[in-house]
């Protein structure tokens, strides 16, 4: 069962003689439940690619089909709802809201969707990720690893079809990085979530089921 398919995905910046291809024909298929790592040097188009899958950016040409939905066919409103329900984001800079405590941060995407948080499920992932004692704290009081785990919880809380992680371990030390990814793996295996993770850390990429490498806007292996 496919969860994601991209067909000849292109993104061009500039016009005329100064065209720059950020993405130059990406064809990719990802199965449901797969943990995919995307590696490549900076400027290779990894982040552009991830943003497009998440509906944060629009391709110049090509097609993205995510969880049976053709993204280009969705209106702005639908895209917003789609992002909220089908995708979970984890960023390098955590992006937790500093005024809300950890618990409020985690359930925010659910509240936005008018859904009641499934307390059993959330307390389970909170426990697996080991931040159950920090739920009342503000993000600022947490260490980097804890903040990233809180962000992972937030991404998992809506039970999204796919989790998009952009350098999730970029600001963590190597041991914490590995811990966070392993925990993410356990949770996603348990709840059958698909993860697409960008990283430039080869060691972290080795933890994934499959690695693809992007160079100059193309998949090279």
């Amino acid at each position: 069962m496919l969860i994601l398919e991209t067909k000849d995905l292109k993104k061009v910046y500039g016009k005329g003689g100064t065209e720059v291809y950020a993405l130059n024909g990406i064809n990719l298929k990802v199965e449901r439940g797969e943990f995919l790592a995307v590696v490549g040097s900076s400027g290779s188009g990894k982040t552009t690619f991830l943003n497009m899958i998440g509906g944060l950016d629009v391709p110049t040409s090509g097609e993205i089909i995510l969880d049976n939905k053709r993204l280009s066919a969705l209106s702005d409103n639908e895209l917003t709802v789609f992002r909220r329900r089908k995708t979970g984001f984890i960023f390098q800079q955590y992006n937790l809201i500093p005024m809300l405590n950890v618990w409020e941060n985690i359930v925010l995407p659910l509240k936005l969707d008018g859904r009641q948080p499934d307390e059993d499920y959330i307390s389970e992932i909170v426990q697996i990720l080991g931040i159950e004692k920090k739920l009342k704290e503000l993000p600022g009081k947490l260490s980097g690893g804890e903040q990233q785990r809180a962000a992972a919880c937030r991404a998992l809380a809506t039970k999204p079809s796919v989790i998009l992680a952009d350098e999730p371990t970029g600001s963590l030390d190597s041991v914490t990085s590995q811990n966070v990814i392993e925990l993410l793996k356990i949770t996603s295996a348990k709840y059958r979530q698909t993860i697409i993770m960008i990283t430039h850390n080869e060691e972290i990429a080795q933890l994934a089921d499959r690695i693809i490498r992007i160079e100059d806007g193309k998949i090279v292996g």
Binding site: M1, N68, E78, V81, R85, G114, S161
Partner: protein, 301 residues
Amino acid sequence: MALFYICTIFFIIAFFVKREQNLMGNIQKMLDNAITGKFNDISLNESKMSIIENSMWRYLCDCQMSYQKLLSEKEQIQAQISDISHQTGTHIANIILYSQLLEEQQELYVNNSETAECLSIIRKEAEELDFLTGFLEKLSRMETGIINVTLKKQKIMPVLSSITNQFQKQALKQQIQFSIEMSDESAVFDLKWTKEAVANVVDNALKYTRAGGSVSISVKAYSFFVCIRVSDTGTGIPEREQANIFTRFYRSEAASEKAGLGIGLYIAREVIKAQGGYIKVDSVENKGSCFSMYLLKDKVS
């Protein structure tokens, strides 16, 4: 004025009832689509309905994924069982071979009756083990769908003569009268597997018939089917058990002391079924049983 209020209240109630009905109707439609496998999450908006749809979609995808995973795991396990039982087969064959060699040697040079007895026990036990692993292999093959019957219209005679060869000695040893009525009929079947199926039924009949009884095999042609009938004068099968004897691993209470795994008749039924035929049993307790295997007379187009 009062009338106006009553009207207003009536309309409000009617509105909510209608809305409720719509919602229920939509959910019903969604479930029906899910059952037929046509479900797709279509609406993406802020409505409650869309949220329910999304959860439903997620649930269905999860179910399908778990199902596929289970299926592939099952296949893997079955392939492994098939592999292992196949490999054990070679080792057991070796044990049998070497114990036979040893028996010969000891007869020639040592000639000690105690050793001879030990050796013959080893050989017998190994033969029993060989029989069991053989069954296990067949069973796992069947589970993985490796019973590939190649159907061909052919004479039933070879099956009958093979059964005669296979069981005549055994019947003689058990002092059972064993008779096979030869026949010139043809039917559509796979020779190898049908031999196996009939052999299982005959083996079963011999197992539950006492000395002095009889086991007879006859063939009769009907308009669509040719029937191979195996009747015995054995212990019979109580009526309450008759429905169960073809299920896998079923052992009759009365037969618990006899050797066996309870898969012979199961294999027989699966083989006959794969060939487009059917098998049935008539039995009276303490009088005997009659197994009828119906094979197609002509290929069904």
